[in-house]
Symmetry: C2
């Protein structure tokens, strides 16, 4: 199992490193295999707008925002009883495109394609899956890069700060729009897990099960420190211009450096050693210069530069701040108290090499649920890939999630 | 013991956080206690220059450099047999000022003052201690901010890249100048440990004992990644100007961000939790803005800004690169082979919570020495402060080092 996990992950990593190369063999195969390969096939993003002024949406901060657009995708079919809906919650830099392909020529499937499709962990033959881009994001939902209709210009820093609770309450508006009053499950990894936890507590009557992967109940000082580092990198880029860079040069270096810091935390010491070691990039001897001569440097630079093409720097600082604010127990006087009213069955999964959201943080959630005599399953998966394991190690997660969902009464 | 270690470290941290406040009570006491408190008292830095053109010094890269100045300090007295000299080797941002005070009004002792003085671990009543600033540095020894006599301008990026081996061979020039042909011990933590290892291998006949604290035999991919992140932060600051910022605005934001990344790696998740938790800085509620509202953010910002006042950005990129190049076994075909000719007794110390130079890296050194049937003692100290433990946890280290040095034949 370990070796398989390794091979598969190596392959996926390779893909992610070369995903701008359209003639890559793997993706050619993959495109051909789209339908055979249990893919949801072609998908179309949809939009839902609400909170038209004067009926703006009240945020946790007290500020109001509207109109709000939510970009979302759905996979599978809502049953007649409207009881098979699962809400998938994306992580920091994710989006609504969780599975399938956006066009016939699209070579890269959605971010959780390995887990979402016919016969997969989130089985589209059984469940109706919904995934929406978070508020504050830059992938279709309203965020700091959106046009403020009142000014005709991007919000930039006039966009109000948002929280995990705001993400969840705006997702609830979408579910109301879709006529879904109860969720078979909420599921997410990392920041997606934070949203799943918030769902289970804020809407206890609506959530029948919650799947929390590589996540935590509150951002730690170390987590805040890394986010602060990244925000500083962005806000110190002279092109950032207090957030008013739209239509001009973007703070590409700052954002790339923020992403580099992110990637260091997503991997582990062991994963980096296995993936790169001390190998040099395209040379055999030290060059005694300041080029990116080690493979790991080249990898980080590539990831940073690639990220800049698809992500908005202001969204980065807003979303990272929402994570920093996340402290599930705070408004209840403790984590035990926070879970008192939950009705969901919980599945909590952590990964042995994840040092950004280490297992002890998942165990805190499990202990708090247990103290409340709630139904909770916990598993720590041995996997060397660090925090990224929740996206890379899909074999064992699939088995665990399928089994867990199979045990939820329909 | 653990509680004492904790209290002492908390106190030291507090000091370091407020060391720009001249009226601070602690330092008033400390100044008064200078002589009672086993301090080496007032010390004076010295300079040694060599490699006057045309007799330039050949670096490991093949490039030549000269003249070279080495700033150093000494404590204690060299005995008649010239056999009691110990070379102290500083870490990344350290300098030649390891102990004592530079003036009567100086309130901050040298960086290893807790360990160096009469009756202390490095006992100035018994040993003659030498500490010099590394080549490439910015604290008195020749580095990229030094004036190139050939141009009359700072070297900037025309300074050649340096390695740990270059640091050691220039230190050897200093020892020749001082008439010391054998060292009772070499000792250092972190990058200082790398130099101590290099000493034991490059000059096996000169080193009778080596003390390696919180260090490793080669920089890991994760370590290179963090250094690359920091170099990118500096080199992306528009004020960096390809290194030609001397006499102009310095790349202060880039350097501060690099230091912030450093401080995250010097602490541990646990240490950060204990020190800051999720406490807010000077407010009781979230401000829903992008100020440094968490204590940990304020701490990092403070450390970053303070560092800029005393450290040169180009030295940062040169020294970090020297660490990245460090791979002790590489030129011998393996770590076991590297230690074959060493004659020193070794003391290797690691710290349980150090994730930048984790214990397994110290154990690699210990195993390689053991395979060579070399005399090596190893201890892992349980301490929650991460990599910084080697500077903060001085009680147990003092006992261990005193005992180790006591066992070396004089």
């Amino acid at each position: 199992m370990k070796q398989r996990c390794q091979d598969k992950a190596d392959r996926r990593r390779k893909e992610s490193h070369i995903d701008n190369q359209p003639n890559n063999h793997y993706f050619d195969c993959n495109t051909k295999m789209k339908k055979e390969n249990r893919s949801v096939g072609l998908v179309a993003p949809k939009d839902f707008s609400f909170a038209e002024p004067p009926n703006k949406f009240q945020l946790e901060s007290g500020k109001k925002l509207g109109p709000i657009n939510i970009r979302y995708e759905t996979y599978g079919t809502l049953n007649d009883g409207r009881s098979n809906a699962i809400l998938l919650l994306h992580a920091f830099s994710g989006d609504a495109h969780a599975a399938g392909y956006l066009s016939e020529t699209d070579k890269t499937p959605g971010w959780w394609d390995a887990m979402v499709g016919p016969g997969k962990a989130f089985d589209t033959d059984r469940y109706f899956l919904i995934c929406s881009n978070i508020i504050g994001g830059c992938r279709g939902s309203t965020g700091p890069s959106s046009i403020n209709p009142q000014t005709g210009k991007p919000y930039a820093l006039s966009f109000p700060l948002i929280t995990i609770n705001d993400m969840v309450r705006t997702q609830n508006e979408l579910l109301n729009h879709l006529g879904i009053s109860e969720l078979f499950a909420v599921a997410g990894g990392s920041m997606g897990g934070m949203q799943a936890l918030e769902w289970s507590i804020y809407y206890p009557e609506k959530v029948r099960s919650a799947i929390i992967l590589a996540s935590n109940a509150r951002m730690t000082a170390q987590g805040i420190a890394f986010n602060a580092l990244s925000r500083n990198a962005i806000m110190s880029d002279f092109r950032w211009q207090d957030g008013n860079y739209y239509g001009k040069e973007i703070p590409s270096r700052g954002l790339a450096i923020a992403r580099m810091a992110g990637h260091i935390t997503y991997l582990s010491d062991e994963a980096m050693h296995k993936k790169f070691g001390r190998r040099l990039q395209g040379r055999e001897k030290y060059g005694y210069d300041f080029s990116d001569e080690f493979e790991v440097e080249s990898y980080l630079q590539y990831q940073g530069d690639k990220f800049v093409e698809r992500f908005d720097a202001n969204s980065y600082i807003y979303i990272s701040k929402a994570m920093d604010y996340f402290d599930l127990g705070a408004r209840f006087g403790g984590l035990n108290e926070a879970f008192a009213e939950t009705r969901a069955k919980f599945l909590v999964v952590s990964f042995s090499s994840d040092w950004l959201y280490p297992s002890y943080q998942s165990k805190e959630i499990v202990f708090a649920l247990s103290k409340n005599r709630k139904d909770v399953s916990y598993i720590e998966i041995n996997c060397p890939y660090g925090h990224d394991s929740f996206l890379l190690e899909t074999d064992r997660q699939s088995t665990i999630i399928s089994s867990f969902l199979g045990g939820i009464r329909g």
